[in-house]
């Protein structure tokens, strides 16, 4: 007995053959997979660098009055909101394009658990990015909007909207990746969709519908949303986030892994 107790604990907690890897473990693995490839590393580095550059650039343009929280946030969230979903897309599509799905889905045969872990990892990463962005934005406002009345107005609501924007952008990326299971088409569609939608929305017969399906979620990063705007953001998310996600769930769980 004493010898058994003396055995040092291994650095990584080991798992017996009869214990199913938990969702926490799988989420940590997916987080690791997002950053441990060459593409993943540079994507993360680019988000941090661009966020820093953006906040400096935005602080240098215009008067102090232009540097309130909403104006800063409107611009500074863009690198994270634009690039993190690409990490989300690649997290799913690389299982097919890099064919690692052969390994992932033999180690975790219940594929819905892999997708759940990817979504959780995406949420964790976007919340981490949120902290980085908010700190950067706060520093920017603090330095560039000194003495401006109302520079910090509704900061709680704005931080909440930033959280919604970053997390839903990430989940939308994962959903696009899951629905298409191919990196290039998923990334192209993800980036061209808002532009295409803006063009379509200018057509007269779509004028009334357009705000309800705006993939940019209205002015969510720039001003406090009204109840109607929240409802519009909700319907837009149902269309651009939930629908592709459901298609993705169906494809990943039902389709055979032919990678």
């Amino acid at each position: 007995m004493s010898t058994a107790l003396a055995v040092p604990r291994p650095a990584t907690p080991s798992l017996s053959p009869t214990a199913r890897p938990g969702l926490g473990r799988l989420t940590r693995v997916e987080l690791r997979k997002m950053a441990d490839t060459r593409a993943g590393f540079w994507l993360m580095a680019a988000v941090v660098a661009l966020t820093a550059i953006t906040v400096v650039a935005r602080a240098l343009i215009g008067d102090a009055a232009d540097h309130d929280l909403g104006s800063m946030m409107d611009v500074v969230l863009l690198p994270a909101a634009g690039l993190l979903p690409v990490a989300g897309i690649l997290l799913v599509t690389s299982e097919w394009s890099q064919r690692t799905g052969l390994i992932t889905f033999t180690l975790v045969p219940v594929r819905s658990r892999v997708l759940a872990a990817k979504l959780l990892a995406g949420l964790v990463l976007s919340l981490a990015a949120l902290v980085v962005c908010l700190v950067t934005i706060a520093a920017g406002v603090l330095l560039a909007a000194q003495g401006v009345d109302g520079a910090w107005s509704s900061s709680g609501a704005m931080a909440g909207q930033a959280a919604v924007f970053l997390t839903t952008s990430m989940v939308t990326g994962i959903a696009f990746g899951a629905a298409m299971l191919a990196s290039a088409p998923a990334i192209v569609v993800y980036f061209t969709l808002p532009g295409i939608w803006t063009a379509l929305a200018s057509l007269p017969f779509l004028e009334n519908v357009a705000p309800w399906a705006d993939p940019a979620l209205g002015p969510i990063t720039g001003e406090v949303l009204s109840a109607t705007q929240w409802a519009q953001a909700g319907t837009a998310l149902a269309l651009w986030m939930l629908l592709p996600l459901l298609i993705g769930v169906w494809r990943i769980t039902k389709r055979e892994v032919t990678a």
């Binding site: 890897p21 799905g101 055979e256 892994v257």
Partner: protein, 310 residues
């Protein structure tokens, strides 16, 4: 223990695997030779739960693969050594899987050493690996979870002769310690060198199965004479059955000595007399390999070879 019961799979309206049944026992290496496109990979994918069979059932260690709680700790799989993220370092690729299945990272290093990937190679990105290095990384990956069963698709592909010898020793040792191994190859000789049991697959069907000895000892004698008609008569009167061989000779279902006696009794001069051990197996395999699309009807050969007891 791997059990395949009547596995059948259709892809794009074509039956690629048809009623494939075999069992791999603990302590044995089962070879799964067949030409490219024979259905080996599809069968293995069904064993690992990546593809759903249209009929039949596959069980690994007594349960469906998908029902194994932590399959990485039970079954080591190598389906395609190139199926690794090109932008991930070799060691990291193993570490990700080690974390998933819950084995300590120290095992990653000992396996890298075991398969002969040094620290420099471990730090390189898999995209820069040669096929042989990927194959070694894939074998390390398969062994990572200290499994009892190994399922390896073409593991010798890309290995040099020394690497192949090394792999043979490794798998032999694994089986001798009670493990179950199933490995496929498009080369019969490679399988013969290592397998205790052989399941030959072609055109999606099991064409022959048995122990290496059973399949190779399909006894027969290849015989040739100037006077073929006289030879046929002599063999017939001795009660021996003969069938035409590829080279105007005859293939007789008997020992060489019996054939020689029959020829002597009939007064026929033989120009050749050789035991044709395994000739049937090789010929069958050759036919499967050379005509993967239009398969000859080999029901007669099927009956002869698949009847071997397990």
């Amino acid at each position: 223990m791997i059990e395949s019961e009547g596995l059948t799979k259709q892809l794009g309206g074509r039956t690629v695997v048809s009623d494939v049944s075999f069992t791999c026992e603990p302590g044995t290496v089962t070879g799964f030779p067949g030409p490219n496109g024979a259905g080996k990979t599809t069968t293995m994918r069904m064993l690992c739960g990546l593809a759903e069979p249209d009929a039949g059932e596959a069980r690994v260690l007594g349960s469906r693969y998908r029902d194994l709680p932590n399959p990485g700790r039970r079954v080591g799989i190598l389906l395609d050594a190139s199926a690794q993220h090109a932008g991930r370092r070799g060691r990291e690729a193993l570490a990700v899987s080690a974390q998933t299945m819950g084995v300590g990272e120290e095992r990653v290093d000992s396996l890298l050493e075991l398969v002969g990937l040094d620290a420099t190679a471990a730090r390189r990105r898999v995209g820069k690996y040669s096929l042989g290095m990927r194959q070694r990384l894939g074998l390390a990956h398969a062994l990572l979870g200290e499994p009892q069963v190994l399922i390896l698709d073409e593991p010798a592909n890309g290995l040099d002769p020394e690497g192949m010898r090394w792999m043979r020793v490794l798998l032999r040792d694994f089986a001798d310690r009670g493990g179950t191994v199933l490995l496929s190859s498009h080369l019969l000789t490679e399988v013969e060198a290592i397998a205790d049991r052989i399941v030959i697959i072609g055109g999606g069907r099991v064409r022959a199965q048995g122990t290496g000895a059973e399949l190779l000892n399909v006894t027969g004698t290849s015989v040739r004479a100037q006077d073929v008609q006289g030879l046929r008569r002599a063999l017939a009167s001795a009660g021996l059955t003969a069938s035409p061989a590829d080279d105007d000779g005859l293939l007789v279902d008997a020992e060489p000595e019996a054939v020689a006696r029959a020829a002597m009794a009939g007064g026929v001069v033989l120009s050749r007399l050789t035991p044709s051990e395994g000739a049937g197996l090789e010929r069958l395999f050759f036919e499967l390999t050379t005509e993967p699309t239009a398969l000859p009807d080999m029901n007669s050969t099927d009956l002869e070879l698949t009847g071997a007891p397990a």
